[in-house]
């Protein structure tokens, strides 16, 4: 088994061939599903915990304090302790809640996140679903989560939850447009919806550099709309603590609450990963035109490290404005989308089309 940190396709290929040879085709495929599924579960759980820890540390830094320090070295085990506590909590359901929908909602939210994570290319050969309508699939499944949020708000039989869910519905449906349109701008540039092709095309220069003005505009719009889609930052109206106590997940406790909580952080990762893949070159190292030695040095850093470095930068930016800005009001959030982001986006697509037509790019 040849393990190569620079290219995982050998490893995955070896595993695939090994399984095919030792089992019947049906068993082999089933085993592959199980392995891939477990890998994703483990990754999501660990990365989610890490993100929670990072958020607490980042927010502490902004607020002139230290954050968790007591459990483990520099509080590293704090989130694990919190998670264990959440697992042991009693599940309390309001008496008049709609039982079936109430129990279903957290699963829909977290499954939507899991579906979306499947198309993210982490490194060469480390992507489980790679098909020609990758971006289309991503925008489609990421909006399934809103159904879970609406269900949660409706079935808890709590007025605050319902208001939160309705806000979230209005918000996510609106910002879905901007996310899709800014991705569409990049599709116009890349000429493909397949993630692997998009990454491959950025070998020379990342799209945010080669696509210059329209790509930068699309990147900013994508960051704003993406944050709104994950119900975070200044757009956290759906949970608006000071207004609606906790919004749609007010009535959830224990592991069900943990699902909503985890889904929020996975969505944060997905938004950052998509931004990384489409705008910042995915796992491609940073290359500058003819600087041979520089480019060569950059190639030494493994692609998976590049990918996560970029993802963390985007995550940090998103956390940065969450901990700095006040929350928007519900009408302002819709105004921002329909009166500003959407027209900007439409003009930006035209601009990008012009750029592609005139070949005015690098």
């Amino acid at each position: 088994m040849a393990f190569n940190i620079y290219d995982f396709s050998n490893l995955t290929h070896t595993i695939h061939v090994g399984l095919q040879e030792s089992f019947s085709p049906f068993m082999a495929t089933t085993l592959e599903w199980v392995i891939v599924g477990t890998a994703y579960l483990l990754f999501v759980a660990l990365f989610g915990l890490l993100l929670v820890y990072a958020e607490r540390k980042v927010c502490a830094a902004f607020q002139q304090r230290l954050g968790p320090m007591r459990v483990g070295y520099w509080g590293l085990l704090q989130t694990i302790a919190d998670f264990i506590k959440l697992l042991m909590k009693e599940l309390i359901m309001p008496r008049k809640a709609d039982r079936f929908l109430y129990n279903l909602a957290p699963f829909i939210v977290i499954i939507a996140s899991f579906l979306a994570i499947a198309v993210i290319p982490f490194a060469p050969g480390l992507q489980s679903l790679d098909f020609d309508i990758g971006i289309f699939y991503l925008t489609a499944v990421s909006s399934v989560g809103v159904i879970g949020i609406l269900l949660a708000g409706w079935s808890s039989n709590n007025k605050y939850s319902l208001i939160g869910a309705m806000r979230s519905g209005a918000q996510i449906l609106s910002y879905e447009l901007s996310v899709s349109l800014s991705l569409l701008t990049m599709i116009v540039f890349a000429g493909s919806m397949q993630f692997s092709t998009i990454v491959e095309q950025q070998r020379g220069a990342w799209f945010i550099f080669s696509g210059h003005v329209p790509a930068i505009i699309a990147f900013i719009v994508f960051l704003i709309a993406g944050t709104a889609e994950t119900n975070r930052g200044p757009f956290d109206l759906a949970e608006a603590e000071s207004e609606l106590t906790a919004g749609f997940h007010t009535e959830y406790s224990g592991i069900k609450f943990a699902f909503f909580f985890l889904a929020e952080y996975i969505n944060l990762f997905i938004i950052s990963a998509v931004a990384t893949t489409v705008f910042l070159g995915g796992w491609m190292p940073l290359h500058f035109g003819n600087l041979e030695s520089f480019n060569h040095a950059m190639d030494f850093i493994p692609p998976i490290v590049w990918f996560f470095m970029k993802v963390w930068v985007v995550i940090f930016i998103i956390m940065w404005f969450k901990w700095t800005f006040p929350r928007l009001r519900v009408d302002q959030i819709l105004t921002l989308e329909w009166k500003y982001l959407l027209p900007i986006n439409l003009v930006n697509i035209l601009l990008m089309a012009l750029v592609v037509l005139t070949k005015f790019h690098f």
Binding site: I163, P326, R327, Q332
Partner: protein, 377 residues
């Protein structure tokens, strides 16, 4: 809950597309146990009915059974953020009734402490204002600076929040030898930190969008509802008792009464921020000139007020605080009534928030700077 059930049962009183929400008694943005029955149409607030009494502690009634120096210790449990001003109001009332002249040193100390409390109160208000609008970081910036004031309080009189520093006829102890130096250090420090407040919150475009033009309270309404303090002054109602009925050392200092005629949430916010600068300048004028002398006049062991009615009002961080004492010549009063600013300010909320969104209701409530025990007494 019974009234909600009653309203729901009498369905002719409740149109089908409206929505009754109980905001409180446990709700993050009421900052205490205030309950508001909010009638909503989607996100729009149609009507607000504040229900108080959840933290009623019967302070006025208790005052009838205890002596005057003891009353002082109850008053700082009402508006705990302007504890020193409340104490001072009772002390001044007793002094006025007994026609006692306090030494200048006492006046100076009281005024400096007043302004420090006002600063601490406004800092906490600023923290919470940001938090109500979703900017959680403000909380830590405000508390960082407030700690410094509380440390000064602790050194001066041993308590941080409910200071209990006043007595009829003076203050309990003389100021600590470090007091002047520490206050001067603080003023210098806070002058550099106040612009940070503007950078973090006041200048933010989202914040300005959220607050300007929201929660209009006309000057006429402000007077009608008796909205005083920074909230009243933001409606152009000149109600600063430090100017109009100066007490303690206020006649000796120069400061501006901050008035704003925009009458909205942003105006109420900016009035408080500007008041912090004024407080700093008042402290600046007094701190170097504290006269030598006694820190209290010798009073009788048992203080008895002459028969009659006595009234004294002071400007607390939230507005006009009044003490009304009816005495029948005994060592404890016949009746005490406190006029608390929060009570009057709260009931203007319906007028201001009607027709706005839920988020605006929270913002408006935040700029009224309510302290619930102050409302319930």
């Amino acid at each position: 809950m019974s009234e909600i059930r009653e309203i729901i049962l009498n369905s002719d009183r409740l149109a089908t597309d409206e929505y009754l929400v109980n905001m409180g008694p446990q709700h993050p943005s009421t900052h205490g146990v205030l309950r508001m029955l909010v009638r909503l149409e989607g996100e729009k607030v149609l009507n607000i009915e504040p229900h108080i009494g959840y933290i009623h502690s019967g302070i006025e009634k208790m005052c009838e059974a205890i002596s005057y120096p003891q009353i002082i210790h109850l008053t700082d449990r009402m508006d705990y953020l302007s504890a020193h001003m409340n104490n001072e109001a009772v002390a001044l009332c007793v002094e006025k009734a007994l026609q006692v002249e306090v030494p200048d040193r006492v006046n100076y100390i009281r005024t400096i402490m007043d302004e420090l409390s006002r600063l601490a109160s406004h800092q906490l208000w600023w923290c919470v204002m940001g938090m109500d609008l979703g900017a959680l970081t403000t909380f830590f910036y405000g508390l960082r600076d407030r700690e410094k004031i509380l440390d000064i309080f602790e050194e001066t009189c041993g308590a941080r929040l409910t200071v209990n520093y006043n007595l009829p006829g003076g203050v309990m102890f003389d100021i600590h030898p470090n007091f002047q130096k520490r206050v001067k250090d603080f003023v210098k420090y806070f002058r550099t930190k106040l612009p940070e407040y503007d950078q973090l919150l006041s200048g933010n475009v989202i914040f300005r969008e959220r607050t300007s033009g929201i929660g209009y309270l006309s000057p006429a309404d402000a007077i009608e509802y008796g909205v005083t303090g920074p909230s009243g002054r933001a409606s152009g109602f000149s109600c600063d008792l430090r100017k109009h009925q100066p007490y303690s050392a206020y006649p000796l200092v120069k400061f501006n009464e901050i008035l704003d005629h925009r009458c909205d949430t942003l105006a109420r916010y900016e009035v408080r921020i500007k008041e912090m600068y004024e407080s700093l300048s008042i402290i600046d004028q007094l701190i170097d000139n504290i006269p030598e002398g006694e820190y209290a006049v010798k009073m009788k062991g048992v203080i008895k007020l002459p028969e009659g009615e006595f009234f004294q009002r002071v400007e607390t961080a939230r507005g006009e605080f009044g003490v009304f004492v009816i005495s029948d010549g005994k060592k404890n009063p016949y009746r005490v009534k406190f006029r608390s600013p929060g009570f009057s300010n709260l009931f203007a909320l319906n007028k201001m928030a009607k027709g706005h969104k839920i988020a605006d209701l929270v913002a408006i409530m935040s700029t009224l700077d309510l302290v619930i025990p102050d409302i319930d007494r």
